[in-house]
């Protein structure tokens, strides 16, 4: 039976030969260089890509945000054409009733709707008179 020291020395000093296949060795080395190049290009591109992506995100967010706000403002400030006509007609009819009573109102009504043929579908004389009467009472 041999002492442990012999085992230790034997393994430590063992001449562990290996034969390396040069063809496979070359292929692995090429693979390593390719992996190295791949990682380098990714690494150098990485911060630039991140920056570009961040910039694109910020610009897109700003554009979308600005567009939404702008649209909201336009909706609030600029009513559609039909709504604008209706508003103007109501104002003119109201003013005519206040100044000249029913006769002035009928006159203004004829001028506004009958003559121009632009009578809105939702506006009826009955409803208008009701509203004006209510307005007068208040």
């Amino acid at each position: 039976m041999r002492p442990e020291k012999n085992i230790e020395q034997a393994l430590k000093q063992a001449d562990l030969n290996i034969e390396i296949n040069t063809e496979t060795d070359g292929a692995i080395l090429s693979e390593l260089i390719a992996a190295r190049k791949g990682s380098r290009s990714t690494a150098t591109r990485h911060p630039a890509l991140k920056l570009a992506a961040a910039a694109a995100l910020i610009v897109a967010t700003l554009l979308i945000g600005h567009g939404v706000v702008h649209d909201r403002k336009r909706v609030a400030v600029e009513p559609s054409g039909q709504a604008r006509i209706e508003t103007l007609n109501l104002v003119s009819l109201n003013a005519a009733y206040r100044h000249g009573g029913m006769e002035a109102l009928e006159e203004q009504y004829r001028k506004t709707f009958v003559g121009s043929e632009s009578r809105p579908a939702r506006l009826s004389v009955g409803r208008l008179l009701t509203e004006l009467a209510e307005d007068g009472e208040s």
Binding site: L16, N17, N21, D25, I33, A43
Partner: protein, 181 residues
């Protein structure tokens, strides 16, 4: 040591020659260690290959405090341990059967061929439990201290010393009369 530091610096600067030099300088040592740890030529080749590929890919992030050889040997030891765990999960044949299969299956694409001595030691170490095999191989072939191995295995130094002692006893009985004086 100084040469290694220079090689690492060049390698981090993108010098492919430095990578080739590191590879040629340490591949044999790493392959031998993997062969002793894994007791399977194909697994050993794969482990060293994986370590080198990872090393090549992590040039920019590499922060080496110790020596390069130690770093690479530790990488191989970690990779070998993971492979051994995976192999144990998949294993369907007995250890005695597996021992006859390993190291002898040569394919045209094989990277290394074992020498006689390596074959013998690989067979003997292959009969030890993996933890004991790892302690003996890392201490005697990779030159690691018990403290380092303990950290690597996540156990106390005394446990590592115990594993080392049991491993040597078993090796002695396995190789009795087979060793040169």
């Amino acid at each position: 040591m100084l040469e290694d530091k220079l090689l690492i610096w060049k390698f981090k600067c993108g010098d492919n020659e430095a990578l080739c030099r590191i590879y040629r300088k340490y591949r044999a040592d790493l392959l031998k260690l993997a062969a002793l740890l894994l007791h399977n030529a194909s697994d050993a080749e794969d482990a060293v290959h994986d370590v080198f590929v990872s090393f090549a890919q992590t040039a920019e992030r590499l922060k080496l405090s110790g020596n390069l050889k130690g770093y690479l040997l530790t990488c191989v030891a970690n990779n070998a341990r993971n492979r051994n765990r995976a192999r144990q999960r998949k294993q369907t044949v007995g250890l005695d059967e597996a021992a006859t299969v390993v190291c002898e299956s040569a394919t045209p694409e094989q990277w290394i061929t074992y020498g006689e001595e390596l074959h013998r030691w690989s067979d003997a170490l292959g009969r030890l439990p993996y933890e004991q095999r790892e302690v003996v191989t890392l201490h005697l072939r990779a030159g690691m201290k018990m403290r380092q191995i303990a950290r690597l295995q996540g156990v106390s130094v005394n446990t590592v010393k115990g594993r080392y002692r049991y491993a040597l006893e078993k090796l002695r009985s396995l190789l009795n009369g087979d060793l040169k004086p």
